[in-house]
């Protein structure tokens, strides 16, 4: 894989991570986390870990986010940090 592309994805991953824990709305946080997972999954595909990437796509970007959103609707979107 081209390392420049790799590098860009990695930087985006870090941005997503920082955003996910700093954003003041939990729903946004959930969505950003989904994006984070998806970027991760791209990264892993690039490294040849297709099975892991597949799983992460299904779980991290899919099911986890669904759980997350379901839970947020049961609780609250509000957060202080």
């Amino acid at each position: 894989m081209i390392w420049q592309l790799d590098f860009i994805i990695l930087i985006m991953v870090v941005i997503c991570a920082v955003a996910a824990i700093n954003v003041k709305d939990l729903l946004s946080s959930a969505i950003i986390l989904g994006a984070y997972s998806f970027l991760m999954c791209l990264l892993w595909t690039g490294m040849g870990a297709v099975d892991v990437a597949f799983t992460e796509a299904a779980v991290g970007a899919g099911i986890s986010t669904a759980f997350f959103i379901g839970a947020i609707f049961q609780t609250t979107r509000r957060t202080n940090d």
Binding site: D51, T55, A58, G62, I63, F67, I69, G70, F73, Q74
Partner: protein
């Protein structure tokens, strides 16, 4: 959140998509030997298809098709298939999970028997994962109160 959704587009798209998702999920499970995928991924997708219907329609609708008790039982059945295949190997005189010994009761060679054993457990994993994903989502999204279908 999961209220009866009146959006026709969402409903019809999900109705249209669900069979394909299911088919893909089964493909992923069955084709795990040759391509990326396997019980876990397939199970997730299966579960996702149910979750999609839950979001598009409502919980009660989905529960009509698959009752809660049935879902819970499937949770156990999946792992039971897995552990049971292992146990059969034990009963056939080999070590636990040694699928090679399945060749004694299946008309194939040892390596193929292993592949078949693998396939069997993939199915088990798939069932469990599907059922658990549905069950967790159901409980999380409704706060444990399935009857009312939705809680805001």
């Amino acid at each position: 959140m999961i209220k009866q959704c009146d959006n026709v587009i969402v409903q019809s798209v999900s109705r249209f998509l669900t069979p394909f998702i299911l088919l893909f999920a089964l493909y992923v499970i069955a084709h795990g030997h040759y391509s990326p995928g396997g019980g876990f991924q397939g199970g997730c997708i299966l579960g996702a298809s149910f979750i999609l219907s839950m979001i598009a329609y409502d919980i009660a609708e989905v529960k009509r098709r698959m009752t809660e008790k049935m879902n819970t039982v499937l949770t156990g059945v999946g792992v039971l298939i897995y552990a049971g295949i292992g146990f059969i190997c034990l009963l056939l005189g080999a070590n636990y999970l040694d699928y090679g010994v399945l060749a004694e009761i299946l008309p194939v060679g040892t390596a193929k028997a292993r592949a078949l054993g693998t396939f069997g457990i993939e199915i088990g994993v798939g069932i469990t994962v599907m059922a658990v994903m549905v069950s967790i989502f159901l409980n999380l999204a409704s706060g444990g109160e399935h009857e009312e279908g939705s809680v805001e």
